[in-house]
């Protein structure tokens, strides 16, 4: 018995140390990005155009480009994701086809993002003649975040308490009326969760857009759908490779901190919404 106790204590301590080490490593990374990035950030850095290939000036247009791309991607992806989720929960009766859908979406979620870039460029950029442009990037990212949005929406709809549906049915609502007045309003937190996660995923993506939606210098804002846009992600990518220029690397860290803060904010918002959703569905 005493031996058991000792063994249990040792294992417990070991596991606790492993957990602490995991958390410590992640916090060190956060500390590094913050420590290296914060000195580069001031009002001018956030509100000025970059100059000298990004080594001086600010990141105003890169930030705007990232926001434009991720916003556009969600606008395109949202109706498709919502429709797909509702098709499965409201209209589709066959369990086999439901299963097929689920596995296809899981596959789409696992596809390495660089492949979205390659294939997306050939399909949108070349076949639809959108070229290296903001629009190509938006379409590629929209496909990429589709499963993120769709899975979130579907979970939210499936978590709806049965009594809401029963009440709708008792009122004799048709499926479409049920969707409009019961399902969408009641699963709003889930929809917002999905949108925030999708935005975060699009904001953090580099590989899929680096040769399809951006050029590295000389662009400010896209003036039409067919212009390329600068982004924070590709800005960091270029600056990171100029290891000999300390000014450029400092700016890369500054842009990195801005990008990391953006994704953290979005994910934290999503976590908050998801906990609200849980509370609602348990009520």
């Amino acid at each position: 018995m005493i031996q058991d106790n000792l063994l249990e204590k040792m294992v417990r301590t070991l596991l606790g140390l492993l957990t602490l080490l995991a958390i410590f490593i992640l916090l060190v990374i956060l500390g590094i990005v913050f420590g290296e990035g914060a000195p580069a950030i001031d009002w001018e850095f956030l509100t000025r155009a970059s100059s000298n290939f990004g080594a001086t000036g600010g990141i105003l247009y890169q930030t705007a480009g990232t926001l434009l791309l991720m916003g556009g991607a969600v606008v395109v992806s949202l109706p498709v994701a919502l429709g797909t989720a509702l098709f499965q929960t409201e209209y589709l009766k066959s369990h086999r086809i439901k299963k097929l859908f689920r596995y296809l979406l899981y596959s789409l979620n696992g596809v390495p993002t660089i492949l979205f870039g390659l294939v997306g460029y050939m399909v949108f950029g070349v076949a639809l003649e959108t070229g290296v442009s903001w629009l190509t990037g938006v379409l590629i990212l929209a496909v990429m975040i589709l499963p993120t949005l769709q899975v979130s929406f579907q979970q939210a709809v499936e978590a709806l308490p049965e009594k809401y549906r029963d009440a709708g049915l008792a009122l004799g609502l048709s499926p479409s009326a049920m969707i409009r007045s019961v399902i969408i309003p009641q699963s709003l937190f889930g929809i917002v969760t999905g949108v925030l996660l999708g935005l975060a995923r699009a904001a953090g993506e580099t590989a899929a857009i680096m040769f399809t939606a951006t050029t590295f210098s000389g662009v400010l804002l896209p003036h039409s759908l067919r212009d390329p846009a600068p982004t924070l992600q590709t800005h960091i990518l270029i600056l990171a490779q100029e290891a000999l220029n300390p000014q450029a690397v400092a700016h890369a860290w500054g842009a990195g901190l801005v990008l990391l803060s953006l994704t953290f904010l979005l994910i934290a918002g999503a976590l908050f919404c998801r906990s609200r959703m849980r509370m609602e569905s348990e009520r």
């Binding site: 058991d4 106790n5 063994l7 249990e8 606790g16 492993l18 957990t19 080490l21 995991a22 958390i23 490593i25 992640l26 990374i29 990005v33 109706p79 498709v80 994701a81 919502l82 429709g83 797909t84 098709f87 589709l92 859908f101 296809l104 596959s107 789409l108 979620n109 696992g110 390495p112 660089i114 492949l115 390659l118 294939v119 050939m122 399909v123 496909v143 769709q150 048709s174 499926p175 479409s176 995923r201 904001a203 953090g204 993506e205 590989a207 960091i236 990171a240 490779q241 290891a243 690397v249 890369a252 860290w253 990008l259 990391l260 994704t263 953290f264 979005l266 994910i267 934290a268 976590l271």
Partner: protein, 301 residues
């Protein structure tokens, strides 16, 4: 039988609704088709575009060790690179991720547990380019100095970065699997007089094993598909190290090869086709891991 008759009327009503294609149904159906088209289209596209290179090189594409754009295309060094960095990342991440998962699920009070989970989910979303920047600006220099190398861009550097990258994902997903083990399993073991440790190793972990394996497979898929972070620190040499287990050698993964060469290959015939075939290999590898992961995770639930 009674039930059958009772619901007969309702069923008739539903039958008439099947043909009532209102706007919502059409919209939902159409968008669902788009979603299906995305996956199948992507796969079909990769297959069709890899035909030219596979027709020309046959099995030599997979087994060839040389890649000279314009002359010969052999994918083996890239497949080797992908497997090496993914394997190394798993080796480094697993002790922390699994130890952390068991501790978080079994020993931490509910509030702290949620804190750890939230932290892991935040970090699972850190953009790859941030890890890339860390790798270029700090880690590769650190690897170079601590091991006395000429160049810090090695398999080890890429594996280290990827290990940190997939750690939060594997931790939080395996924790889900452990935490989903029903309370009655725990109660039954404790009532048999087992200690908590015996309960964990004898009842909780075996029950959660498919889910833990699923989490690991998903982490593998993510590591193998990561492009930016790996591309910046792996060294970019299309060669199998000599000896093959030399972690201090530069290499190339499939994803990093695609990231580096895609821009210059656009518009070429054979080189583009070779990249697409590489993409197909990556797609199939990652798909295998991802679907295995989901299958096992689902079984755990």
């Amino acid at each position: 039988m009674i039930g059958h008759f009772k619901f007969g009327g309702e069923k008739g009503l539903q039958m008439s609704r099947v043909f009532q294609w209102d706007l919502f149904r059409m919209g939902a159906f159409f968008t669902a088709l788009i979603s299906l088209g995305c996956v199948t289209g992507l796969f079909a596209f990769l297959v069709v575009q890899s035909v030219p290179i596979l027709a020309q090189q046959k099995w030599n594409f997979l087994l060839g060790q040389d890649w000279w754009a314009g002359e010969v295309y052999g994918a083996l060094p890239m497949i080797y690179g992908s497997l090496m960095v993914t394997g190394l990342a798993l080796f480094l991440a697993l002790p922390l991720a699994l130890g952390g998962a068991v501790y978080t699920s079994e020993f931490l009070p509910a509030k702290r547990r949620l804190g750890v989970k939230a932290l892991m989910e935040l970090f699972a979303g850190v953009p790859g380019i941030i890890y890339g920047l860390l790798g270029v600006a700090l880690l590769s220099g650190w690897v170079k100095d601590s091991f006395g190398l000429i160049d810090g861009n090695t398999i080890l550097t890429a594996g280290l970065l990827l290990g940190i990258m997939i750690l939060p994902t594997i931790l939080t997903l395996s924790e889900d699997a452990l935490n989903a083990v029903p309370g009655q399993y725990r109660d039954a073991s404790l009532s048999l007089g087992l200690t908590k440790l015996q309960m964990i190793t004898g009842a909780v972990i075996p029950e959660a094993l498919p889910g833990i394996a699923g989490a690991i497979f998903l982490g593998m898929g993510r590591a193998m598909g990561e492009t930016i972070a790996v591309m910046l620190v792996i060294g970019g040499l299309d060669k199998i190290a000599d000896p093959w287990y030399d972690l201090f050698a530069p290499a190339q993964s499939i994803a990093s090869k695609l990231g580096r060469e895609a821009a210059e290959a656009i518009g070429t015939d054979l080189q583009w086709s070779a990249l697409m075939a590489l993409g197909l290999v990556l797609f199939l590898l990652v798909m295998f891991f991802t679907l295995m992961g989901h299958l096992l995770l689902k079984r755990a639930r």
